[in-house]
C-alpha cells in the first residue's frame, strides 16, 4: 500500500484536528520561548501553535516516557482482612508523533530491537509502540552537529517513520512508508484538506536531493565497532577523551536511542497513605549511580569508564547484538552538552587510535 498526498501550507491545523478525531493523541513540536528557546513535543489540541523545526528534545517520550507508573497498589484493610489490589495496566493510548525528524524516527527503530525483538518483550513499550504512527518531516539541510549520514541515515531516511513529509513550495508532500501510515492517510476525510500528492511528488524528491547535497562528506566509520572494542581497556584514551565531561546526563536524556531506565518504588502516601507505585524512569550511564552496587562498590569508578560505556554501547555492543549502531546521528548529545563533548570526535579518535596501535 502506498499513499502520496499534498497538504497546502494552511492545511496543517485541519489535518491535525482530523487526526485528533481518530481518537489519537497528537504529539507535535511546540516552540517554548525563552532567552534560549527550545522545541519540545507536546500534546496538540485545537488552536495550539506548532512548529516543524527540529525539536530540542526528541519524541522518545511517545514510547518511553521520562517516568511511567509500571504498577500501582492499594491496600484495603478492615478489622479482619487485609488485601492488596495491584494495577499494572500499561499507560498507553493511540498516538501520532507529528513532525519528528528522520533521526528521531530512526530512534524508534533502535528502541524496538531490545524492547520488542529480544528474548523479553516489554509490555509497556509494546502497548505504546503498537499504537504509534510517526509522521516525519524530512530535513532541508544538515546542521553543524548532526551526522545521520555517517550511520546510513539521511535527511529523508524512512527508517522508523510511517509517513514522510517534505516541505515544498506551497505546502507539504506526505508520503506513506508503511501500511500503517498509508492506512491512516487513506482514512483521512476531505476535511483534512489532503489532496493527491502524485503531481507534486517530483518537487519533493528534488527537495530531498537538495538536502542530501547540502551535507558535508561523511567519513568512513565502518571500522568503529572493532576499533572501539579493541581499545576497550586503553584507560588513557578514554581518560583523555573525557577530561571535560561534567558527568551530567544531557547526552543520554536528549538521545533518541538511549533507553536505559531505573525502577523505583514509592511506598507511602500515594492514594491516601494506603498504597504505592512502582515507577520506571530514565536513567543514564553517565551517572555514577548507574552501576553503583548495593554494597557501595562501583565497578565504573570514573567518568572515563562511563563515557567508554556510552560510546561502546552505541558503536560496539549494540551493533554486536543487533547489527546496527544505536545512534541515529541526530547530534543532540553534542549541541546540548554543556561542554560540547563530541561523540563524532571520540569515534574518529578511536578509529585513528586503534589504527595507530
Amino acid at each position: 500500500m502506498n499513499a502520496i498526498r499534498f497538504l497546502p501550507s494552511d492545511g496543517l491545523p485541519a489535518l491535525l484536528s482530523c487526526l485528533v478525531k481518530t481518537g489519537r493523541r497528537i504529539l507535535a513540536p511546540v516552540e517554548k520561548p525563552a532567552v534560549k528557546s527550545s522545541v519540545v513535543f507536546e500534546p496538540w489540541s485545537e488552536g495550539k501553535p506548532l512548529t516543524l523545526q527540529k525539536a530540542t528534545v526528541p519524541a522518545k517520550e511517545a514510547v518511553l516516557p521520562q517516568c511511567e507508573t509500571l504498577l500501582s497498589y492499594r491496600q484495603t484493610k478492615n478489622a479482619d482482612t487485609a488485601a492488596l489490589n495491584l494495577d499494572d495496566t500499561p499507560n498507553a493510548q493511540p498516538t501520532v508523533v507529528f513532525g519528528a525528524r528522520p533521526c528521531d524516527a530512526c530512534g524508534y527503530a533502535v528502541l524496538d530491537r531490545p524492547f520488542l525483538q529480544g528474548p523479553f518483550v516489554d509490555p509497556y513499550y509494546r502497548a505504546r509502540r503498537e499504537q504509534l504512527v510517526v509522521f516525519t518531516t524530512t530535513c532541508g539541510s544538515g546542521c553543524a552537529t548532526c551526522f545521520c549520514h555517517w550511520l546510513g541515515g539521511g535527511p529523508s531516511s524512512p527508517e522508523g517513520s510511517d509517513v514522510l513529509m517534505t516541505e515544498i513550495e506551497g505546502g507539504l508532500v506526505l508520503q506513506s512508508v508503511t501500511d500503517k501510515g498509508a492506512e491512516l492517510l487513506n482514512s483521512m476525510p476531505p476535511a483534512a484538506k489532503l489532496a493527491d500528492g502524485a503531481p507534486v511528488f517530483r518537487q519533493a524528491e528534488e527537495a530531498r536531493k537538495k538536502a542530501w547535497a547540502s551535507l558535508l562528506p561523511a567519513p568512513d566509520i565502518k571500522s568503529a565497532r572493532q576499533a572501539i572494542a579493541g581499545i576497550f581497556s586503553d584507560a588513557n584514551f578514554w581518560q583523555e577523551q573525557t577530561d571535560r565531561c561534567l558527568s551530567c546526563g544531557a547526552c543520554t536524556y536528549f538521545c533518541p536511542t538511549c533507553y536505559c531506565f531505573n525502577i523505583t518504588d514509592e511506598g507511602d502516601g500515594y492514594e491516601g497513605g494506603q498504597g504505592g507505585r512502582r515507577l520506571r524512569s530514565w536513567d543514564n550511564c553517565m551517572s555514577s549511580q548507574f552501576t553503583r552496587e548495593a554494597s557501595g562498590h562501583n565497578p565504573r569508578t570514573d567518568k572515563a569508564l562511563r563515557m567508554r560505556n556510552r560510546v561502546s554501547h552505541k558503536y560496539s555492543f549494540y551493533p554486536e547484538n543487533w547489527g546496527a549502531a544505536s545512534c541515529s546521528g541526530c547530534g543532540r548529545c553534542v549541541c546540548n552538552c554543556p561542554v560540547y563533548l563530541d561523540i563524532r570526535a571520540i569515534v574518529l579518535a578511536a578509529i585513528k587510535h586503534a589504527g595507530d596501535k
Partner: protein
C-alpha cells in the same frame, strides 16, 4: 513492621472532646498498623499492661501512644515497651491532649486532628530503629576557672569531697574582687580577713593544683573527658624559687608602674607581689614597665633576689590537664564607665569608681586607708555617690540591675563617716534594692545613724566649679526640684559586665552568653548552675549580678553538681544523636563549623577526610543534619526521611 496504636481516653480529658474509638478505628488502617485500641488510662497500670500484652500477643515491634504530651509520659512508656522486650526507642507519641482535646471543643475537628497526629506518629515510627546508649568512663577531676570567692568555694568544696581540682586564675593572685574590698556589707567586717583564710586553704589543700597568672587556651572533649590547655603566662620570676620576701620590689627603680590591684589609684614597682596576702605569694614583673625588659639595662631585682628566682627570658608555658567537669567562675569587670561623659568619667580625677574608692578605704590600699582625693591628696568633705551608672540604663543598652551597688554604696557611705566624721555623703539613687538578710536594716542605718543624704533622682551633669571642687547637678524626683551639690569627690557605682574575655571563654566552653558577657544557665529557675554543655557549671557573677553570699552559695552548688556527676564511674549518652554516612561525606566541614558542641571532627578514613560524630559529645540538636547538603549527616530518630514521612503524610495532593 508491626505497629500497635493506643489511643488514650485519659478519662474524659481526651475522651470528652475526641472520639477515641473512631481514631483507633482509623488508625487500624494506617500502614503497618496491626492493632489499635483505645484504653481509658494508658499511663495507669492496667493501661501499661494492655500495651505489654498487646506487644506480646500481636508480636508488635513498635507502638504509638496517643495521649498527653511526650514531655510528660515519654519516659513512662519507654519503660513500658522496654519491659515488654522492645527497644525503648521503638515508641512514638501523638499529643492529643495538650495539643487537641484541651484546646478545642469541636469533636469532629478534634477527632480528625487526633487521627492525623496518629498518622504522622505512625509514619515517623516506621523509620525508627532500636538505639543503644554508649557508656564511657569519667575522669574524676574538675577544672575551676576563676579564683574569686565563688571559684574558691567551688574548689574547696570539691577538694573536700576528695575530687582533685585544677584552679586557673588569670591574675597573679586568687581572691578576685573580694580581695580588693575593704569591708563587706551588711556586717562591715573586714573583707580580707574572711576571704584570706579561704585563700590560704586553697594554697594548702593537697588536692588543689593552682595555676595563677594562667588562662584557659583551649578546651576539647566532653563531659567526663575534657582536655584543657592552659597557658601559664610568664611571671619572669621562677615561682619555685621565689619566697615572696619582697626584697626585689623594695629595690626596683621603676616605681611609677600603674597599680592594677589598686584599680590604678596609685603606682607601684615593676616587680612585686600583688598584695601582702596574695596567694600564691610570688613576685611578678610587669614587663612593659621593667627597665631591664623594656630597655635592657637595670637587672637590679635579679641581683638582689636571695634565691636567684628572677628570669627575664621566661616564656609562656602551655600545660594540658585532663578533667571530667568544669566550673566557670570568672566573675565580672566594670563596664566602660567613660561613656558617661556628663559625669566627667575618666576625665576628672576626683570622679572615681566605687571599686577605686574601695581601695582608697582599704588599709592595704595606696593611701593606707586614708581617704584622699586623687587630684590633690586633700581629704574630701562632701562626697557624692551616684548609683546606676551603667545599670538600668536602656540608653546605653544596659537594662539590667547590677544587683549589689545599692548595698556597697550604703556601706561606703557608712565607712566614709567612720573615716571622716566631718564629712557629708549624698547618694543619688533610682530605687534602693536591699532584699537580703539584714540588708534593708543596713541601708536604714546609713540614713538614720550615719546621716547619709539619699536623693532620689539622676544626676544630669558634673563639672568642676573652678575652685577645686565639682558641681553636681541633679534632680530630686521626690521633691520635684533641682538639686545642686558642691562635692569634693564623686563616686560612681559603675555597672558590671561579664569579665574581660568572657565571650571567648564561653565559645571555648560551648555555652551561650548574653550581650553583657554573662554566661547563660541551662534553665533560669530550675537549672541555675548548669549550662547547656553537660559537665560545665557556673558559679558567681559570671552568670549574672549577685553578692558574696549568693556567689559562695553558688560555688557550693556547683561543687554539689560536680560531686553528684562524679558519684558514678561511667556515664551513658543519649543515643538520639547524629551519625555520618561516610560514603556521602565530602568533608566540606560545614557540619564541623556549625556544631554548637564541637561534636564533629574530621578524621582520616582510608586517606580521605571524613566528618565523624563524637558520640559522647553530640547532644542531638540536628543542626548538622539540616546543614549537610548531601544528607550525609542524619540524626537518629529525626532523620530527613522521618521528617519527610511526617510532612508527606500531611501534605500530599
Amino acid at each position: 513492621m508491626r505497629i500497635g496504636v493506643f489511643i488514650c481516653h485519659c478519662g474524659s480529658n481526651i475522651g470528652g472532646t475526641v472520639d477515641c474509638a473512631k481514631v483507633a478505628e482509623k488508625a487500624a488502617l494506617f500502614p503497618d498498623v496491626v492493632y489499635a485500641t483505645d484504653p481509658m488510662y494508658t499511663c495507669a497500670e492496667p493501661g501499661q499492661a494492655t500495651i505489654e500484652s498487646a506487644i506480646a500477643e500481636y508480636r508488635l515491634d513498635g507502638i504509638v501512644v496517643a495521649s498527653c504530651s511526650p514531655r510528660m509520659h515519654e519516659p513512662t512508656f519507654r519503660r513500658t515497651v522496654e519491659r515488654a522486650g522492645l527497644n525503648r526507642y521503638m515508641l512514638e507519641m501523638a499529643n492529643i491532649r495538650e495539643h487537641v482535646s484541651w484546646i478545642g471543643k469541636d469533636v469532629e475537628s478534634n477527632t480528625n486532628k487526633a487521627a492525623e497526629l496518629v498518622a504522622i506518629a505512625v509514619a515517623k515510627l516506621r523509620g525508627n530503629t532500636p538505639l543503644h546508649s554508649k557508656s564511657f568512663e569519667v575522669n574524676k577531676r574538675v577544672l575551676v576557672i576563676g579564683g574569686g570567692v565563688a571559684g574558691i568555694q567551688a574548689a574547696l568544696d570539691c577538694a573536700d569531697g576528695d575530687i582533685p581540682v585544677v584552679l586557673v586564675e588569670r591574675e597573679a593572685t586568687i581572691g578576685g574582687k573580694m580581695a580588693k574590698l575593704d569591708k563587706t556589707f551588711p556586717t562591715v567586717d573586714c573583707s580580707a580577713c574572711i576571704v584570706g583564710p579561704k585563700m590560704v586553704d586553697v594554697a594548702q589543700h593537697p588536692l588543689i593544683a593552682l595555676y595563677a597568672l594562667s588562662e584557659v587556651e583551649e578546651i576539647s572533649g566532653y563531659v567526663g573527658n575534657f582536655t584543657v590547655k592552659i597557658r601559664k603566662r610568664a611571671p619572669y620570676v621562677d615561682w619555685d624559687k621565689c619566697t615572696g620576701c619582697g626584697a626585689c620590689s623594695v629595690k626596683c627603680p621603676s616605681k611609677k608602674t600603674p597599680d592594677a590591684f589598686n584599680e590604678f589609684t596609685g603606682v607601684t614597682t615593676a616587680i612585686k607581689v600583688a598584695f601582702p596576702q596574695a596567694i600564691p605569694k610570688k613576685a611578678v614583673i610587669t614587663a612593659a614597665h621593667c627597665r631591664q625588659m623594656s630597655r635592657g639595662k637595670c637587672g637590679v631585682c635579679a641581683k638582689v633576689c636571695p634565691t636567684g628566682a628572677v628570669n627575664y627570658d621566661m616564656e609562656d608555658v602551655i600545660v594540658t590537664e585532663e578533667v571530667g567537669s568544669i566550673v566557670a567562675a570568672t566573675g565580672y569587670d566594670l563596664m566602660d564607665w567613660t561613656v558617661y561623659k556628663e559625669y566627667g568619667a575618666g576625665r576628672y580625677p576626683d570622679v572615681i569608681t566605687s571599686l577605686q574608692y574601695e581601695r582608697l578605704l582599704s588599709g592595704s590600699g595606696p593611701t593606707c586607708g586614708h581617704i584622699r582625693r586623687p587630684s590633690d591628696g586633700r581629704e574630701p568633705r562632701i562626697i557624692v555617690f551616684i548609683q546606676c551608672v551603667g545599670s538600668r540604663d536602656r540608653s546605653i543598652g544596659r537594662p539590667q540591675c547590677s544587683g549589689f551597688c545599692c548595698m556597697y554604696t550604703a556601706k561606703q557611705a557608712v565607712l566614709t563617716k567612720d573615716h571622716l566624721p566631718e564629712s557629708q555623703s549624698y547618694v543619688f539613687y533610682m530605687d534602693i534594692r536591699a532584699p537580703g538578710k539584714m540588708y534593708d536594716e543596713f541601708t536604714r542605718r546609713a540614713v538614720e545613724e550615719y546621716g547619709v543624704e539619699y536623693v532620689r533622682g539622676r544626676v544630669s551633669c558634673v563639672y568642676p566649679d573652678g575652685k577645686g571642687a565639682y558641681s553636681v547637678m541633679g534632680v530630686d524626683t521626690l521633691l520635684g526640684r533641682p538639686v545642686e551639690i558642691t562635692a569634693d569627690l564623686i563616686v560612681l557605682a559603675v555597672g558590671i559586665e561579664g569579665s574581660r574575655g568572657a565571650g571567648e571563654l564561653a565559645e571555648k566552653l560551648r555555652i551561650s552568653y548574653d550581650n553583657c558577657g554573662f554566661f547563660m544557665e541551662s534553665h533560669v529557675k530550675l537549672k541555675p548552675v548548669e549550662t547547656n554543655t553537660i559537665g560545665v557549671f557556673l558559679a558567681g557573677v559570671c552568670q549574672g549580678a549577685r553578692d558574696i553570699p549568693a556567689s559562695v552559695a553558688q560555688g557550693s552548688a556547683t561543687a554539689a553538681k560536680v560531686l553528684g556527676l562524679f558519684a558514678r564511674d561511667r556515664l551513658e549518652n543519649d543515643p538520639q544523636i547524629a551519625c555520618v554516612d561516610m560514603r556521602r561525606c565530602v568533608a566540606c566541614g560545614k557540619c564541623v563549623r556549625c556544631c554548637p558542641f564541637g561534636a564533629i571532627e574530621e578524621v582520616s578514613v582510608r586517606d580521605e577526610q571524613k566528618a565523624h560524630v563524637i558520640e559522647t559529645v553530640c547532644q542531638g540538636c540536628g543542626l548538622c543534619a539540616a546543614t549537610c547538603p548531601q544528607g550525609a549527616v542524619q540524626l537518629a530518630h529525626s532523620t530527613d526521611n522521618q521528617i519527610l514521612a511526617e510532612v508527606n503524610t500531611l501534605c500530599r495532593y
